[in-house]
């Protein structure tokens, strides 16, 4: 059984071979009296259609066309190939026409979001497994509500049983907003623990003003804050794993439309040469 690293090396090597082959074909075609842009353009379009077939494959899961994981691998490597073909197609220059510029921009968005998605899908899952509890993304808002309710019950109980409103006031002033919903998304994405550290630090500092009865409530509240922070962490990372597709997939639709118009124009205005 081939390991991940070994498979990646093999695939990268294959990708390099494909790159070299494409560059060679482009150079050969450039040396001929044919328009290399048409070769690279059609190649680009067909490869984009092939990449789009990945989404179609997921909908036709009943067909024996290989596993989704295999399709994803092909999607990734063909995606990199498409970037090279695109660069060959535009001659390593930024297009200057409005339509072509828009097309190039949309392509850049698709390609960029794809690369970003690849990076996120490689970097975030290990981080998710390392910290906190495995939770389903769709259920996180419900869990947030659960934790908020627990915290509110806890501080109310503390005030009742100890007669001190220290924890309740602290919750009102500093933690109510934190428990209101997912927070610190950016910080969690970039691996920063500063916001949650500040919350806990402030909560810990409160300990000196609590009596012994309050201290137990204080510890339980602290545990809830930590749990909520881990929930936020999972929410942020899982949201990122889904959000990039909100750029990638819609941009592909615009890309296909603009590319079709571009191809029609290219052929129409050179067909009567």
């Amino acid at each position: 059984m081939m390991g991940f690293a070994q498979r990646r090396r093999r695939n990268l090597l294959g990708l390099l071979v494909v790159f070299a082959g494409l560059l060679a074909v482009d150079r050969v075609y450039q040396a001929s009296l044919h328009r290399a842009e048409f070769l690279s353009g059609w190649t680009l379009f067909l490869l984009i259609l092939l990449l789009g077939a990945h989404n179609l494959r997921k909908r036709l899961s009943m067909l024996p066309l290989g596993s989704a994981a295999e399709w994803l691998q092909w999607h990734i490597y063909i995606g990199f190939t498409v970037i090279l073909v695109f660069l060959l197609h535009v001659g390593w220059h930024i297009p200057s026409g409005l339509l072509d510029t828009a097309l190039a921009l949309v392509f850049a968005i698709v390609a960029g979001s794809g690369v970003l998605g690849l990076v996120l899908s490689r970097r975030l899952p290990p981080r998710l497994t390392r910290r906190g509890e495995d939770v389903i993304f769709e259920r996180i808002p419900g869990f947030v509500v659960q934790l908020r309710q627990r915290a509110e019950v806890l501080v109310a109980e503390a005030a009742t049983e100890t007669g001190s409103t220290t924890l309740a006031e602290h919750y009102r002033d500093h933690l109510a907003d934190f428990f209101a919903g997912p927070r610190h998304i950016g910080a969690h994405l970039f691996g920063s623990g500063r916001p949650s550290f500040m919350l806990l630090h402030r909560l810990d500092a409160l300990a000196r003003y609590t009596n012994e009865d309050e201290r137990e409530f204080h510890l339980r509240l602290r545990a809830l804050v930590e749990q909520k922070d881990e929930l936020d962490f999972h929410h942020a990372l899982q949201a990122a794993l889904k959000a990039w597709l909100f750029v990638h997939v819609p941009a592909v639709s615009a890309l296909l439309v603009l590319a079709s118009v571009h191809m029609l124009l290219a052929h129409a205005f050179t067909g009567a040469a």
Partner: protein
């Protein structure tokens, strides 16, 4: 820490993330069991939907919501715990799908908006046009497709539109020869020999070119402009930029670079002899070295200067570089013979034999001894009788007819009278007679400028006076000849030997010495005047000889000839006659190296299928000419260093330069300089230094192209 996520069936709600709509209570952790319908409507009004078992309704509330309730359903089967309806929300998947549709719709909408608007050219133009085409704001100027509009784009893409192609529209403004769609814009038959010459050339082309040639062989037919010239690449784009591979795709012997595989230069930079015969070796080693008083040039730039484009090194004007030594040659200094051209010279005639054998030709100067000159023979060409006589006489010497046949004697008589008729004609009608005789033989009428140059203010008065001196009784003789009557005896016509006009003849120019051109006559001829006038002449101060007096050029009569002395370099008369008489005996006479004016001493004569012509000018820039190879001298000046011109131009002292001018073939030639080797250029012209692209030195479209001139109608100016 208590776990939040539970995966068992009883404690884990199902959120249906793959459906378009999810329960609105999901975010509170209390999503219903059923979920919204496909249109996003909440379907749940109570915590459970009781099940009918037998005749009893059973509570079906899930464990997730507390399990079976103690109260149970009503007898009608309704749950007693109502739930407020939720506002279902779209799942992430559905939101993404909607966003995708929006993006696609937006793109389609924008495209349609552009298509139906007038902004198609602006928004769909694939890129800015080059600066040369920036002013063209109508797509139809270049594109056939633009004639039809967006509805026909698909047909256009399939090449099914009728009309003038894009290439034809390019050629409306760009003239690139008669065969613009053929390789190099020339007929393939012209390229065939060049192809054959390269067939054996061993070369190692780059790998991509080898593969391209094997996969996509080039063609020399029907090449559209757009194959090489690709527009819409920005204002600063170079439309003439072509890859080296594309240049060589059709060539039988492609190569890697100038340094590797490029054919050796052939007779470069001089594919033909110089138009002006100037022997650099003899001038450098002999003339300049031996006569320092002439202040010879010290540098190449004393005689050569670049043209406006910086390409050719031109020869500076004659007055700058040649006149100091050669102007006196043109004027005839040091010349042994006559310094003027004998335009009309009375030929020698064996009068005694003619008269003795009954073929008298009237009065004839007895000391005339010249053969009929080329000018005279040319002017007689307009007279059929003279032409026949000359043909009959052949090589017979007119001044010795003792052994001539009667037919030749008759021809000699006719020729003599034709000469007299010519003189009379010229005397009476002057330049008009001369022009008419030329035009009688020429295929086309001469324009006024050429007429003026050919006549060069022919002094008819002087000619009339000379004719009267040479042939007293000319009019009577010709009248009798034309009437078919016997010529008057010489004694009757004139008992005098040839001399000044007889007193009885009307003196048309009496009292007008200037018009007569009194100075035109040589003192020797004056001396031959009758004795009666000798006393008056004796007291007359003698001046310079007539040739000396005419040193600045012009007509004069000397002895029995009317001569023209060239007025210096670029004499219009001599040049006009040379050009008018291309390829004739007179042309040969005038272009001899020692002919008066000495045009042929420096100006070479080229003979080709098109005819014979004199190279009046050294190599000059030809704006219409698009040569295959181009070179800019000025671009190289700054990098020559101390060797200067010698970097490329090495003198070849052993070259038989002068031999190249012994015939009229410009290709038989030995330059004063060694041919330039390819390596000289290849030293610097590498990709890293000066570049070695094909188009750096070569042009694709070759030939002479007329520039396109607007066909503006004059009436449009007044509208």
């Amino acid at each position: 820490m208590e776990k939040l996520q539970k995966f068992d069936y009883h404690s884990s709600p199902y959120h249906r993330p793959n459906q378009d709509w999810v329960c609105g209570w999901a975010d509170s952790g209390q999503c219903c069991q059923l979920g919204p319908d496909v249109r996003g409507r909440c379907r749940v009004a109570a915590q459970c939907q009781p099940l009918l078992e037998g005749d009893r309704w059973q509570c079906a509330r899930s464990d997730l919501h507390g399990g079976c309730c103690p109260k149970g359903p009503s007898p009608a089967g309704q749950c007693g715990y109502s739930l407020p309806p939720c506002r279902p929300r779209r799942s992430w998947r559905s939101r993404r799908r909607i966003l995708t549709r929006w993006f696609a719709s937006l793109a389609v909408g924008l495209v349609l908006l552009v298509v139906v608007s007038d902004s198609v050219p602006v928004l769909f133009e694939p890129g800015a046009r080059s600066a040369a085409h920036a002013e063209i704001d109508d797509c139809r100027a270049c594109h056939l497709t633009a004639d039809f509009g967006p509805a026909s784009w698909l047909r256009a893409a399939l090449g099914q539109l009728p009309g003038r192609s894009d290439t034809e529209r390019c050629l409306d403004c760009h003239r690139v020869g008669e065969a613009p769609r053929l390789a190099h814009s020339v007929d393939p038959s012209r390229l065939a020999p060049l192809t054959d010459a390269q067939l054996g050339h061993a070369s190692r082309p780059p790998w991509n070119l080898s593969l391209a040639r094997a996969s996509f062989p080039g063609t020399d037919q029907d090449l559209a402009c757009g194959v090489c010239h690709q527009e819409h690449r920005g204002a600063k784009a170079n439309l003439e930029e072509v890859t080296n591979g594309r240049c060589q795709i059709c060539h039988v012997a492609p190569f890697a670079s100038l340094a590797e595989g490029h054919p050796e230069f052939s007779a470069y930079p001089a594919p033909r002899r110089t138009r002006i015969q100037f022997d650099h070796v003899s001038h450098f080693s002999k003339h300049f070295a031996e006569d320092a008083q002439l202040s010879p040039p010290a540098t190449c730039s004393a005689c050569h200067a670049p043209d406006n484009a910086g390409r050719l090194m031109l020869v500076k004007p004659f007055e700058t570089v040649c006149a100091s030594c050669h102007e006196s040659d043109i004027a005839g200094a040091g010349r042994a013979g006559a310094r003027g051209l004998a335009v009309i010279e009375v030929p020698g005639l064996d009068v005694e034999t003619l008269e003795a054998r009954g073929f008298g030709a009237g009065v004839w100067p007895r000391h005339a001894d010249a053969a009929p000159g080329p000018f005279l023979r040319r002017l007689l060409q307009a007279d059929p009788a003279a032409v026949a006589a000359l043909a009959e006489l052949g090589r017979t010497r007119l001044w010795d007819l003792r052994t001539a046949e009667p037919g030749q004697l008759a021809a000699a008589q006719t020729l003599a009278l034709c000469i007299k008729a010519l003189l009379q004609d010229l005397a009476l009608r002057g330049g008009l007679a001369l022009v008419e005789r030329l035009e009688a033989q020429g295929a086309e009428a001469l324009d006024s400028a050429r007429r003026g140059s050919l006549v060069a203010m022919l002094p008819a008065a002087a000619l009339s006076e000379a004719a009267a001196q040479w042939f007293p009784g000319l009019d009577d003789e010709l009248a009798a000849w034309r009437a078919g009557q016997p010529l008057p005896a010489p004694a009757e016509a004139s008992s005098r030997p040839p001399g000044p006009p007889a007193p009885a003849e009307p003196d048309l120019f009496d009292g007008d010495d200037g018009l007569l051109g009194g100075g035109l006559f040589d003192g020797d001829l004056d001396a031959a005047a009758p004795a009666s006038s000798a006393p008056a002449a004796a007291g007359k101060p003698r001046g310079h000889s007539i040739e000396e007096r005419m040193r600045f050029g012009g007509w004069y009569v000397e002895d029995l000839a009317l001569r023209y002395r060239p007025a210096g370099h670029r004499d219009n008369f001599v040049r006009a006659w040379i050009e008018a008489e291309s390829g004739t005996e007179l042309f040969d006479h005038l272009t001899q190296a020692d002919s008066p004016g000495r045009c042929g001493y420096c100006h070479s004569v080229d003979e080709s299928a098109a005819g014979v012509s004199v190279n009046w000018y050294p190599r000059m820039p030809k704006p219409k000419l698009h040569p295959f190879a181009v070179f800019s001298h000025t671009a190289h000046f700054s990098m020559l260093g101390d060797p200067g011109c010698k970097t490329c131009h090495q003198l070849n002292p052993a070259a038989p330069y002068a031999q190249g001018f012994e015939d009229r073939n410009p290709a038989t030639y030995a330059s004063n300089y060694f041919d330039i080797d390819r390596e000289v250029c290849a030293d610097c012209h590498t990709p890293e230094l000066a570049g070695n692209d094909c188009t750096l030195c070569h042009r694709y479209h070759i030939g002479e192209f007329e520039p396109t001139v607007p066909s503006t109608r004059l009436v449009d100016f007044t509208r």
